[in-house]
């Protein structure tokens, strides 16, 4: 199966457990860490690209441990009404998720390619990009 991107949220106590280790060891999943963050309250947020035969069992394991699991594609939002298709984001986006469709010169967003670096949030002059976790 092709890799899927998911957002994981860890409580303070969960952040100290080697959960990803067991995801790899017990469920034989391939893990690519796209983004990771632990806030001052020691709560963790992890964006993973995940693939493997036991993908669903792996997710069940995460949930059983108390990890909140959300699909990433629902979290990246482009406000199409606000976007003017200027293109300011397109040369900045490192993965090509935001690109200019030619010749109609319209900015398009491919959520599957997004690596949630959030550069588009900073560089969009009209604040049309939103990330919701």
């Amino acid at each position: 199966m092709s890799p899927k991107k998911i957002v994981l949220r860890f409580t303070k106590t969960l952040s100290e457990k080697p959960i990803i280790y067991y995801l790899v060891k017990d469920y034989d999943l391939v893990v690519n860490i796209v983004k990771a963050n632990i806030n001052p309250h020691k709560e963790g947020m992890l964006i993973l690209e995940l693939s493997g035969e036991k993908y669903e069992q792996g997710l069940d394991y995460l949930r059983s441990q108390g990890v909140t699991v959300q699909p990433l594609t629902q979290e990246i939002i482009r406000n199409e009404e606000r976007c003017s298709s200027c293109g300011a984001c397109t040369a900045i986006c490192p993965s090509g998720a935001l690109y200019m469709e030619r010749p109609n010169m319209e900015v398009k967003f491919d959520g599957d390619k997004c690596i949630v670096c959030q550069l588009c949030l900073k560089t969009c002059p009209l604040r049309a990009m939103e990330v919701r976790f």
Partner: protein, 398 residues
Amino acid sequence: MSIERTYAEINSKIKSGKVVVVTAEELVTMVKDKGITAAAKEVDVVTTGTFGPMCSSGVFLNFGHSAPRMKIQKAWLNKVPAYGGIAAADVFLGATEMPEDDPLNSSYPGEFRYGGGHVIEDLVARKPIKYKAIAYGTDCYPRKEIETEITLDDINEAILMNPRNAYQNYNCAVNLSSRTIYTYMGLLKPNLGNAHYSTAGQLSPLLKDPDFRTIGVGTRIFLGGGIGYVVWNGTQHFPDRLYDKNGKYLGPSGGTLSVLGDLKQMNPQWLRGTSFLGYGATLTVGIGVPIPVLNEEIIRYAAVPDEELYAPIMDYSDAYPNRKPCDLGFVSYAELKSGKITVNGKEIPTASMSSYKKAREVAGILKQWIQKGDFLLSQPAQLLPNADDGIKAKVLKG
């Protein structure tokens, strides 16, 4: 026989519903197919458009007098300061003004999430605005402070007055240094990581009337979704012609427009608060200018395609900020719009700060207004200075 038309003849055709209007983009294709002479015979008006960040924008606001009366000394709209050094109940709010408690660039790169341009967008969107003002008190204007809420419909006048808009041409910005820089041309990655430009190219108003043969004081235009006027040349109006090292003409540059219109009949879709990371806040403005086809020469200029219009490539890490010479050459808008250009032997991605899609919409709306008979062309009381007038930029000593 060459074509000659007058404003009166064109307006007569608009009123009778027989006017032929094409956008500058459509004209490019038409001239490629039919040639200049045939297009000149057929077309009466060419519409242009642009939708990009234009920092020199602002609004004059006149509030109804409070009881007791008050002579506004300092005022804030949604915490953004407005200039009160004019008549008692008037203020001017500039697009780039920021709230006094904004960290600005002290937390570099600053986000500049809400400034004067955003207030203007909220005003024109009819959102309630928190208004605060203070005064020193006089016998005729005794009140010293007020804090209330206003909407655009609650106040007397709101005049969009933009001293410098619609730049004729602009730089293609690159970064030769080894660090990321944050500019009014967006985020520029190090070591020629990207190239940013900001114009609609073949649709952009002042690229299509390069010598100001039709645009002048009193020209009626599309401004912010409503009708506005060119009221003067813009500040920093230094019209010039670009040539390469071999003397080949690369198009015009340097002209600007000063424009004005009634904010109350405009639309937030065409006046958008804008933020540039590490630089500041501003307003993105939609402007469309009609070009009357008075003769064949005017349509020849209006038909120039992206392939024949060029931007100078400028290094924003050192040459631009320090006013040093920059010799990176020129690039055509056709190349810029393709998504990649080559600078110093390196292929780099390009992106625009202004929207070609929206520029196309502006030119299309203006075309519809003219076709429906809702928008007549105005003959300028005075044309704007052009490159032959030799106006040069002054350098500030110090």
